[in-house]
């Protein structure tokens, strides 16, 4: 017990200025969900805490499936997901839930092929066949055709996927189901699917970890995880036939068409979007809030936070590999935030 007291008393750097000096009491809000936006959410919550030292938002990245589940159980105040909730899930909720987009991100195919330093090109159908287990070695003609001039080894392909319920999986499955009818029937779209082949990693972190350590493997992760861990990732062929590399720019282009026709509940898929230069495996990511929560104080704080995230918060997006929301979407969202009952 002595140790506890001593450690708690020791200065905590920039994180823990004395809460007693502020007029407002400390409020802690718990949320859970997607690992896809974890890097930017953790940045946002830390920044917000610096601006408002009495507000501590605790976000645990346990996967989109987890976020939805815990929100439905009401064991967390807000959820976060990259795969929008289904109508059934919304119906089973104890109260109406709002989807609030925060940023745009991209899912990229990361790979670890011994001896290959070139950037590999992939097409939707080839990725689908890989994940169906139909393409088994790196020098398969299907891959070679897309990558003329690259010396591909005869190494076996190890498929890496998520072992937990994941919105990143949802986005990837959504894309593969659009480009491959066989994939749609055999596997389908969900946060957790029946994988035909492969090794499971927990979270975006687990998948990048496995790919970086396993020669001959391929996996799918959110762009920032590939950038931060410096794992090579390939280009993907979009609906217009171009091979596009994921970037803030190409993701923004993917959202352009959808932004114009945004549905009022913000649940929209932008994978395999039309338009030159758009990256085909892009997606919005959402924070989920009850429209009429019991804890009004927390609701007020979260709404304030969302306003900050939609304006100042967007500044941090590009550095971390996410695309900021289109202005039209931000306007619609600010209006939607009014509907959350804070008193």
């Amino acid at each position: 017990m002595v140790a506890t007291v001593v450690l708690t008393a020791c200065g905590g750097g920039t994180q823990q200025p004395a809460a007693t000096q502020n007029a407002s009491p400390t409020i802690q809000i718990n949320g859970a969900g997607a690992t896809f936006p974890y890097p930017i959410y953790s940045k946002w919550f830390a920044e917000y805490n610096t601006l408002h030292p009495n507000v501590r938002i605790n976000y645990q990245s346990i996967g989109s499936g987890g976020g939805i589940r815990q929100l439905l159980n009401q064991t967390v105040f807000f959820g976060a997901t990259d795969g929008p909730m289904t109508d059934e899930q919304l119906k089973s909720a104890p109260g109406p839930i709002r989807h609030l987009p925060t940023v745009l991100g991209a899912v990229v195919p990361v790979y670890n092929v011994p001896g290959v330093t070139d950037e590999l090109k992939f097409s939707g159908p080839v990725l689908a066949d890989l994940y169906l287990g139909k393409v088994k070695t790196w020098n398969d003609p299907a891959i070679a055709k897309l990558n003329p001039g690259v010396k591909l080894p005869a190494t076996d392909i190890t498929i890496v996927h998520r072992s937990d319920g994941s919105g990143t999986t949802y986005i990837f499955m959504d894309y593969l189901s659009k480009v491959s009818p066989e994939f749609k029937t055999k596997v389908g779209v969900n946060t957790s699917v029946n994988w035909p082949v492969g090794v499971g990693g927990k979270g975006n972190e687990g998948v990048s970890g496995l790919v970086s350590q396993t020669p001959g493997s391929i996996g799918y992760v959110e762009l920032i995880y590939a950038l931060q861990t410096k794992i090579p990732f390939g280009t993907v062929q979009n609906a217009a036939g171009e091979f596009v590399k994921a970037s803030v720019d190409s993701v923004t282009k993917a959202a352009a068409a959808a932004a114009a026709n945004m549905p009022s509940d913000f649940r929209v898929s932008i994978t395999n979007a039309e338009g030159a230069g758009s990256y085909p495996i892009s997606s919005f990511t959402w924070i989920l809030l009850y429209e009429n929560p019991t804890d009004k104080a927390a609701a007020k704080v979260m709404v304030d936070f969302m306003h900050w995230a939609l304006t100042d918060g967007q500044k941090y997006a590009a550095d971390l590999g996410y695309a900021p929301l289109p202005d039209s979407v931000v306007k619609l969202e600010e209006a939607a935030l009014q509907k959350i009952k804070v008193s």
Partner: protein, 304 residues
């Protein structure tokens, strides 16, 4: 005075009853939460291989297979080592080494599971990957060694579990051997037995207890979660291959519990927990019964 004694007995009896209450509560709660899944799938649950959250089809066979395979593999590797240690420490080693050796094996038992997992991911898995890559082609053709050399998989899981099980089995075996009356050994030596033959006689005498010790190690391996989930590959498939990534009951619960998005999914996971609870109950119960039977034949007390 008697009523005060009765009062005392009642009061502390309530605390003791808490233990009974907790165990029954666990069983009850597990059964209650898995009821939905039990009703829907019945016994098919134990025989089906599909684990499909999208379609709502759940079968626990791959997990039961993975748990049993990894635990039995661990036993095969750990038992000779554990018995060797028990024999060495109780019969063969110089007395001055005895205490330090016992301390060191206890240390193995005390290392937290997560630290085994950490070491597993960063040290054992690359080593196993190396082993797998070096496996000669001739062996690779066998189903036992088929598949790409990932490193993560059944072999890595079996190895980690074996290291974790050794101290348990060896500690109990040691205790059991201590209770073999010295007359047994003396008789053997008097008849001209070599060390090996005398010890073999002692072990034969203690065979029930030793089997109990082995089963205790088995029970430990069955329930292990963290270290296994970090090195087994998390793929629900029934595969004979040591190189294949597979899944265990405790690992799937750890990975998917917080996110089971619908009632049936959650119920299926809890049912797996129930199955695990029952299996470990039976194995541990059996092992304690064996050790206790051994203790009854012998005047001194065996602690397990």
């Amino acid at each position: 005075m008697r009523s005060r004694d009765l009062g005392f007995r009642l009061v502390i009896g309530v605390f003791a009853a808490a233990l009974l209450l907790i165990v029954t509560a666990i069983g009850f709660e597990l059964a209650r939460q898995s009821w939905l899944s039990i009703q829907k799938f019945g016994f098919e649950f134990w025989r089906t291989s599909t684990w499909d959250p999208v379609a709502g089809e759940f079968g626990a066979l791959p997990f039961i297979w993975g748990t049993l395979y990894s635990s039995i593999l661990a036993l095969v590797i750990a038992t000779p080592v554990a018995l060797g240690i028990a024999v060495f420490v109780s019969e063969l080693c110089p007395p001055v080494l005895r205490s330090p050796l016992i301390f060191l094996t206890e240390l193995l038992a005390a290392i937290p599971s997560i630290v085994y997992g950490l070491w597993g991911i960063f040290v054992l898995v690359p080593f196993v990957r190396l082993l797998e890559t070096w496996t000669p082609e001739a062996l690779r053709a066998l189903p036992l060694f088929s598949g790409p050399p990932l490193g993560v998989g059944m072999l890595a899981a079996g190895l980690v579990l074996a290291v974790m099980v050794v101290p348990f089995t060896s500690a109990v075996a040691r205790e059991v051997l201590k209770t073999v009356p010295t007359t047994q050994r003396e008789a053997a030596y008097a008849l001209g037995a070599t060390r090996f033959e005398a010890i073999r006689a002692a072990m034969f005498y203690a065979r029930t207890g030793i089997v109990g010790a082995i089963m205790l190690g088995f029970g430990r391996a069955l329930g292990e979660t963290m270290a296994v989930t970090m090195v087994i590959g998390n793929n629900p498939q029934v595969s004979l291959s040591l190189f294949a990534p597979q899944y265990t009951m405790s690992a799937v619960i750890a990975n998917e519990f917080t996110e089971a998005t619908d009632e049936l999914y959650l119920s299926a996971l809890v049912e797996i927990g129930l199955v695990l609870f029952i299996i470990t109950l039976l194995v541990n119960g059996l092992s304690r019964a064996l050790i206790w039977t051994m203790a009854r034949r012998v005047p001194s007390k065996v602690t397990a």
